[in-house]
Amino acid sequence: MNSLNDRPQRKAALIEFLRTIQRPDRPIEAIPENQELVESGLIDSLALLQIVSYLEETYRIDFRERGVNPSDLGSVGAILDLIERGGG
């Protein structure tokens, strides 16, 4: 786990990252923590791969052995929960 030690910090960093991959015409600030990222149109489904890259690089989560449960990447809240579990 890196220096982003509490959930608000991690959330802020995640939102900052999502800004770089979101569709430009969708405001991200307004998205509730439990809102579906793909279904809401904020990102396209292929962008899930970029989230995986972000988690691998930022939190050193290695998905290769156990794989990813897609629902763990479904919303800002789900991603934060995944980070807190260390990817498991």
């Binding site: 979101q22 405001p27 489904s45 791969l49 998905f63 290769r64 990813v68 897609p70």
Partner: protein, 519 residues
Amino acid sequence: MGSEAFLDLRPGNLIEPVSGRRWDVQEIIRQVALRVRRYEQAGMAPGDRVFIPYGNRLEFFADLLAVWRLGGSAAPLDGRLTAFEIEQLAQAARPRFFLVDDTLDAPTLGFLSRMDAKVLNTLENERGAGTASAIELPADRSFIDNEALILFTSGSTGNPKGVVHTHRSLHARWAALREHVGLEALGETLCVLPTYFGHGLICNCLFPWLAGQNLFITPPFRPDLVMQLGALIDDHKISFMSSVPAVWQLALRVSRPPARGTLKQVHCGSAPLTARFWKEIQGWCSTEKVWNAYGITETGSWTAGTSLGEFVPEDGLIGKPWGAVIKIFTTSDTAMPPAAELECKSGDSGSVWIRTPALMRGYLNRDDLTRQAICEGWFLTGDIGRIDDRGLLYLQGREREEINKGGVKVYPADIDAVVARFEQAADAVAFGIDDPVYGQDIGLALVLRNSDAAIIRELYAWMQRHLAQHKMPKRWYLMDSIPRRSNGKVNRAAVGEHCAKSTPLDLRAIMQSGAGKQP
């Protein structure tokens, strides 16, 4: 000869592993017969062109066989195309029917209903069918040299390029694959590729399925499914699948490998494969039989290939032709057939040419393009390659302009054409940019008559109305001018290199500065 062979061959079962739906052979024939009866009553006749803007579900295959049975030809389309894009394709092909399902959005469906073609919902075929378990299949009305399939490879925004295959060319491809690939490993075949795509439809789906093998079909290019690929393979005892490097790249990172050892053979195609990546796929799949397949829609997709078990993987290695003659010539001129003296020596690079009975009839209503690609049976692929002294083909590059975004081909001219219609756009050139996840993404160099933020927002909204979402450029670069040659052509790679030194527009800030305003 009619195409009754399609049904006489006794296709295998069709399964949707995501929904759990399954049709056995008897049900498939019933579904085809239902459609033949309904579509015939609706006026479908030999020679009709039928657009199918959906796919990757059981009904698609019944629709395809029904259209063929009635002597028509089918054009499977990407369901994500906008109404504008479908209109461009329809103007070129003049379809008499659209077969749709429930995935088409209401505006597009409304638009299709106003076109000069009948719209039939494939999900309504059961209506009035009663409970009869079998319906007599009427006589086959297709002929071997009928147009069977139109696959649009570009031009969805103007001047469409549709590859036309006949039943003869499709049968030739399948016969070659039976000889060179065989069916031994294909008993339980998984397809995660789109059915509007030659690789997915002709080779991954129809080749095994029409030869009696079971076909498991999923929605295409869904990262959430790829994340569960190992489990999917295990749960359904999948023995064969094909895919593209972008899907493998994802699977290797985010899916656990299959554990039950059912996978016997795997193909990878539609983009070059490095030796290292090839071995990684082999490790994940736990099978030696990872075959790199060279697929071109115009030659019925898989036209050459090799397997890890036969040769040591090397960057760019393809292998030997499958039902084709492949030669390397120093010329890329299709005004005359390539002369023997222009053939490259072993190891020398040149243009890749192919002769095969699976060659398309030509490009739909585009004799000009056909002449630029085919001369006396020789097809100029647009690829650069070499053949070594063992007769193995290696690919070294492409002359084509397509952008390969995660395995989906995007044609930059389609994007240029949409931007060109925007009143404030003076010039635009789309190009490929390197992307660590997709391999390539899309950049756009743009010259605007007025570059106010409001105009950029208008252009963004304009492009969204006219282009499928996956074709939207990721990075936009504003320029004073775009250098073109005297004939108006542009070197997209050079434009891309120039843009790489500049800062792209902050689209998010521009779009959100206008939030709430009408574009």
